[in-house]
């Protein structure tokens, strides 16, 4: 073992790096998806009211908006409430509001859209219909950036799959190479074992155990490294940013076990390939 310690270290390091990078992508993906789900759950449109509209008319405007097909419910948010909410959210930058003599925010309606209507066409139709109302200045919703974010998440998914496959292959090859070198260094020992009646199972099992230990050690190191970096980053995300929408989570136990098992599989596959090749030679 000590004689081949360099080989073992290289193998474990490669597996650890593979696990680290693959898991990092999965972590981004999982958090991205959680974020998307949160966005969708609290999805709404903001319909800003023109400045000259009287407060008494808001109820009737609300009824008109509510009558548009595909709307769950409508909530009026006065500009005073909006400013209060903004001040609370930005309490660390309270200085920004000190110079304000008038409230620059408009009155608005928060229009909640049910989940089954949250598609591009329906959203655009609803926004157009609300915007067509004479009392409404404009309608805003997070369509564009959500679309962009979906693209980013998709990109991460594809990159994750591609890199995961690449690193899986790398793990298979590095374990295969390590085992091949070990087999050649133990060639005489194996030949003698065969001559004294050792079965293939007896000869091969220690190599499989060894590659599994390497895979598990590599996986644990990789996951621990990722967890440490995750802990470091998540502790430094400002609380202002860490809202209900952005809540970072580490990989679930299910995911970590799955990653470890996949790379254990890579180890066994690499070991099996080398043993098969060795048996033939």
């Amino acid at each position: 073992m000590a004689r081949n310690s360099f080989l073992h270290i290289i193998t474990i390091t490669t597996i650890a790096l593979s696990v680290f990078i693959t898991s990092a992508f999965i972590l981004c993906l999982v958090n991205g998806q959680t974020f998307m789900t949160s966005c969708k759950q609290g999805f709404h449109m903001m319909a800003y009211i023109k400045p000259h509209v009287k407060a008494a008319d808001t109820s009737s405007i609300s009824d008109v908006i509510q009558s548009i097909a595909g709307i769950d419910h409508v909530k009026f948010i006065s500009k005073t409430d909006a400013l209060e909410w903004l001040k609370k959210r930005m309490n660390r930058q309270a200085g920004l509001f000190e110079g304000l003599t008038t409230n620059p925010l408009p009155d608005a309606f928060k229009v909640h859209i049910p989940e089954n209507v949250r598609n591009d066409e329906a959203m655009e139709r609803i926004a157009r219909e609300i915007e067509a109302l004479p009392s409404i200045e404009n309608v805003e919703y997070a369509r564009k950036w959500i679309k962009r974010f979906v693209h980013v998440v998709e990109l991460i998914r594809f990159a994750g799959i591609a890199l995961g496959a690449l690193f899986f292959l790398a793990a298979v090859l590095i374990v295969a190479n390590t085992i091949r070198l070990l087999l050649y260094s133990k060639k005489r020992e194996i030949e003698i074992m065969r001559l004294v009646g050792a079965t293939d199972f007896f000869i091969k099992t220690p190599f499989f155990i060894q590659s599994m230990i390497q895979s598990v050690a590599g996986s644990l190191i990789g996951l621990f490294g990722l967890y440490s970096i995750y802990g470091y980053i998540s502790a430094r995300v400002p609380r202002d940013v860490s809202t209900e929408l952005i809540q970072l989570h580490f990989l679930s136990l299910h995911h970590t076990v799955l990653i470890a098992l996949i790379f254990m599989g890579a180890g066994c596959l690499g070991c099996g390939l080398s043993l098969k090749q060795f048996s033939k030679s």
Partner: protein, 241 residues
């Protein structure tokens, strides 16, 4: 003291018109012979006569190019690859160059055979190995490594390893080559001792003097062919069983 072991006349090894070729070179030509259970046989011949090849065919380290070989009723032409380890457990093999594992102690080298055969009871393995090492006179060196032993000592360990699995057949390829006469005598005494306990012993040697001193049957090989086979003589046993 001259002893004649109880030879069971039924053959444990049968070879029918066996040929072995390496490319164009004929290593063995038309070998047909029977070796009875508990027989003591020498395979004699000069270097390159085919002694080692013939031995290797028996435990399937090499495959015959032609002909049939039966070992304890098993046709080696038909034996599946998976069953070869079980065939080899019928043999105890002693090599000229000992073939001990340098990274394992003497005890571990002998224990390997038992572990390879599936013996998992550590206490039973330790007991058996100690007993064997004491028979070959190596008990006090059980923790030593092969490279720190003399040739004679290494060969005694190799004998212990060969008989560890209670093999039915002991095969020794030039077991006394390179040893001084005292060590060679010890090795031969040990082989005779295990023969007396029921094993069939097959020794490849070019040393006719050794054959004359020991007795048994001699199969003379020349250029891969059987030149002649002598009638079995009684085994001269000076050891105490």
């Amino acid at each position: 003291m001259v002893r004649t072991s109880m030879i069971d006349s039924s053959p444990i090894i049968r070879m029918f018109h066996v040929y072995k070729r390496y490319g164009k070179k004929h290593a063995l030509v038309d070998i047909s012979l029977d070796i009875a259970k508990n027989e003591f046989v020498f395979i004699n011949g000069h270097s390159g006569a085919g002694k080692s090849t013939l031995m290797k065919l028996l435990y399937r380290a090499e495959e015959a190019s032609e002909g049939q070989i039966l070992v304890d009723g098993i046709n080696l032409n038909r034996i599946p690859r998976k069953k070869i380890p079980f065939l080899r457990r019928k043999f105890g093999i002693i090599f000229q160059d000992y073939q001990l594992l340098p990274e394992k102690s003497i005890h571990e080298n002998v224990a390997l055979v038992l572990e390879a055969a599936g013996q998992t009871n550590i206490r039973a393995v330790r007991k058996k190995v100690s007993s064997l090492l004491s028979i070959v006179g190596m008990e006090d060196r059980r923790d030593a490594y092969p490279q720190f032993l003399s040739g004679g000592e290494q060969q005694r360990v190799a004998v212990a390893r060969a008989v560890a699995g209670n093999p039915r057949i002991i095969i020794a390829d030039e077991p006394t080559a390179g040893l001084d006469s005292e060590s060679a005598g010890t090795i031969m005494d040990l082989l005779k001792r295990f023969h007396m306990r029921g094993a069939t012993v097959i020794i490849a040697t070019h040393d006719k003097k050794l054959i004359d001193q020991t007795g048994g049957r001699m199969i003379q090989l020349k250029n891969g062919r059987i030149e002649h086979i002598t009638i079995a003589k009684a085994i001269h046993d000076d050891t105490v069983c």
